[in-house]
Amino acid sequence: MAPPAAAEGDEALAARAAAGEESAFEELLARYESRVYRLACRLTGDDGDAKDVLQEAFLAAYRGLPGFRADARFSTWLFRIATNAALMQRRARARRPTESLELFLPRFDEDGRHAAEPAALLAAGRADELLDRKRLAEKARAGLERLPDIYRDAFVLRDLEEMTTADVAELLGIEAAAVRQRVHRARLMLRGYLSDLVGVKP
């Protein structure tokens, strides 16, 4: 007899789904739909696009299951499909030009010292205490939208989706060192952006 569904691994479920068991696919859908949707929102910044990505990703997974290799992790495979769908979706849409977050990079005086005072430099880390939750959610989304795409993708996958650097590098087709450099720069810009949100010059 099969073990209870709750204890069954993704890969075993995927194998049963590939063999045509609809309930196994249904279980995989239930496990991952929220995470795929969240990823899609973070990468596309648009509810309608996120919905399309969610649908396309699970349809592609459904149809691609017979080709899924059981030695790979199902979640890695699914997130690769979803990320590619999100990047395609975004490319298809002409984005409105927005003011880049570059202006929020840290500033230094001529001696290489932080231009801002310690109290001001600390403000970014308290943005979630200082701002209303709903407003912060709106502004966070707007902030991702203002990141140049290459930084946004690396930051979303690595820091928000918490994938490994190696997985992000493979997904984006770039070197691990480039992933790290982009994530670092995105953090610097977003730190300054959070600081600006709470009314302190970055």
Partner: protein, 78 residues
């Protein structure tokens, strides 16, 4: 390495420092600078918190109607 280690130098290598991938000499340089620099202490705290704050603030919940339409979408294409 330059004679005097600056805040800008520290920012440059901050991610590597926090992930523990710096060479010992570099780690020592940044640590001894930060120990005497309240600006860097404050900056590093904000930098460390940034991913966490953005992660929590962008954790969109899947709307119930979307979960249902996803199932209809897949079922119609089986």
């Amino acid at each position: 390495m330059k004679a005097r280690f600056t805040c800008a130098d520290g920012v440059e290598m901050l991610m590597d420092y926090l992930e523990g991938t710096l060479a010992p000499a570099e780690r020592e340089a940044i640590e001894s600078h930060v120990a005497g620099c309240p600006r860097c202490v404050a900056f590093i705290e904000g930098y460390r918190q940034t991913p966490r704050i953005l992660r929590a603030a962008t954790a969109a919940a899947l709307p119930e109607d979307l979960a249902q339409s996803l199932r209809r979408f897949i079922a119609a294409r089986r």
